[in-house]
Amino acid sequence: MSIELLLAAALVSGTPILLAALGELLSERAGVLNLGVEGTMLIGAVSGFAAASIAASVWIGVLGALLAGALFGLAFAALVVSLRLNQIVTGLAFTILGTGLSAFIGKPLIGVPPSATVPRLDLGPLADLPFFGPVLFRQDALVYAAIGLTALIAFYIRRTRPGLILQALGESPDVVDALGLPVAALRYLYVMAGSALAGLGGAYLSLAFTPAWIENMTAGRGWIAIALVIFATWRPWWVLAGALLFGTVDALRFRMQVGGDPIVDPHFLNMLPYLATLAVLALVSRSVMRRRLGVPAALGIAYDREHR
């Protein structure tokens, strides 16, 4: 297999993980650990596919996935931000909920051919460039949207005032509170935005990658997205780099299953994202590194004004 095709496939395989991980990054930066990503992606995948089928428009599908993801995030936020239920336990329950709900909603959609798929962008002469053409310039619109989103989120967090407040939200919410800003409302906002992106990541699978609705089609990508956020030490550009890396692993595994005669068993390839994440996790454990790399200090802790 040519290297161009592998890289092009890596970009496509990395996109759903990238979208979901960017969403989880927003949520975790706001101090909320959402372990329901896998379920949220499935909700997005099924809603996106259903909406696209009904409206015969892929963009309505994208919109539907964003909306469904945000709604799912709203329910999650209501439980962990307002009711202050434990984030880990609630997140796991939401993964179960998303899996069941998507399978239930998707029952009539199984075997339905996609009415519309995400279009490839026509980039004219760029697409004919040697090497760069096939790798970079013959992708579908959502791939570019995901990369653009990475830049946008990176800029937002590092360079804007609301982005600064987002950092504080996960670092020391009491400071945000002292500034007179509504901690709970902001956390709702970022959890919902993050879940919307996870929904979009799921919809990428059902509208572009596969494209069809298959039960449980995320196949663990939600967990990889959670790993990716840690792997990237909560930085958007690193999330993109990691998504490409994990996407390459995904593409390689797929090629090997098709091509036969693997050099290394695909099971070991699949371990790579988790092993890489463990290595990074060990690295960021040292407290000096933790401060330098910006692990959100208040991650996973419900904010309670009287318990500062």
Binding site: L33, L79, S82, L83, R84, L85, N86, I88, V89, T90, L92, A93, F94, I96, L97, T99, G100, L101, A103, F104, K107, E215, G220, W223, I226, A227, I230, D265, H267, F268, N270, M271, Y274, L275, T277, L278, L281, A282, S285, R286, S287, G300, D304, E306, H307
Partner: protein, 357 residues
Amino acid sequence: MLLRLEPRLSDPSAAEWAARTALGLILALLLAALVIALAGYDALTALAALWRGAFGSLRAVAATVNKAVPIGLCAIGIALAYRARLWNIGAEGQLYFGAFAATGVGLALPETAPAPLAVSAVLLAGTIAGAAWAMLAALPRAYLGMNEILSTLMLTYVAILWVGYLVVGPWADPLTFTFPYSEPIPAAARLGPVAGGIHGGVLVLAAVALLLAAVDRGLRWGYELRVAGDAPRAAIYGGISPVGTVLTGLLAAGALAGLAGAIEVSASTGRLQAGLSPGYGFMAILVAWLAAGSPLGIVMASILYAGLQNGGFALQVAGIPPAITVVLQAVLLLAALAVVGLGHYRIRLFRQIGVTG
């Protein structure tokens, strides 16, 4: 009017906690009925089918209890580690690794090995392997402060993939080449039934639950775990080694999950297979939380949870899509979680005090 959640000064009493749990379950059942009705099915028929599948016959009860064993064992380990405020999210991986070691020992045993010895060897191997897998998260947690929530979660997938590799690769049974199964372990290494269709794992679960109660009430270790969890500074002043509590807490949790995996192999499947556990280790987290860590509560909650799972299959027979049982599970859980979780707070109504301008 404003609604506010205020932390309560005292923990709810046992009676109140029980009442809350019951309320949660009733609320959850009502919600479940609503979900089924909204989906266009008869709620009473569905709930009756659910009951029949879970507890309706001796066979159903046996299947439910058998399923509760791995969930309960993992949950007791999780609850134990949580005494020291350690999160073992990776019970699922430790279970798989325990099952791997148990199968390895089982396959290596001679056919003529005496049964009690063979079964003990298999269960012991699983227990040690589970602890070893937890050790991979416990050591960095103790010495580097590596977040155990994330590390145990990552290790879970590594263990599942490892087992997946074995059952299609070196350990694949040539006779079942279409299924990802290992060869069966010898009959002597199989844990037999104790009553009806209930296998011996239930005795292990009961013993471990009693052990947890003993650790809580009588053992210095249990006290140390709790102090390390609730008041880490006081623990250090009191000479309790934080490294020690982290290591022993997580190791014990891993050992129990590994034991659960070994029991699954020895008593239930008889071989290693991909998809050995449908997520017992994750269900156990929810069960441990719902039961608020109490040993008796965990045993009851895991039987309930296992019943819900098995009842789901019966729903399928009654013509209701199986996916709805997964939805039901989540709805039941969230309702129960909300009601139990709110026990730590009281809700107060405030009249908005007018601050104008």
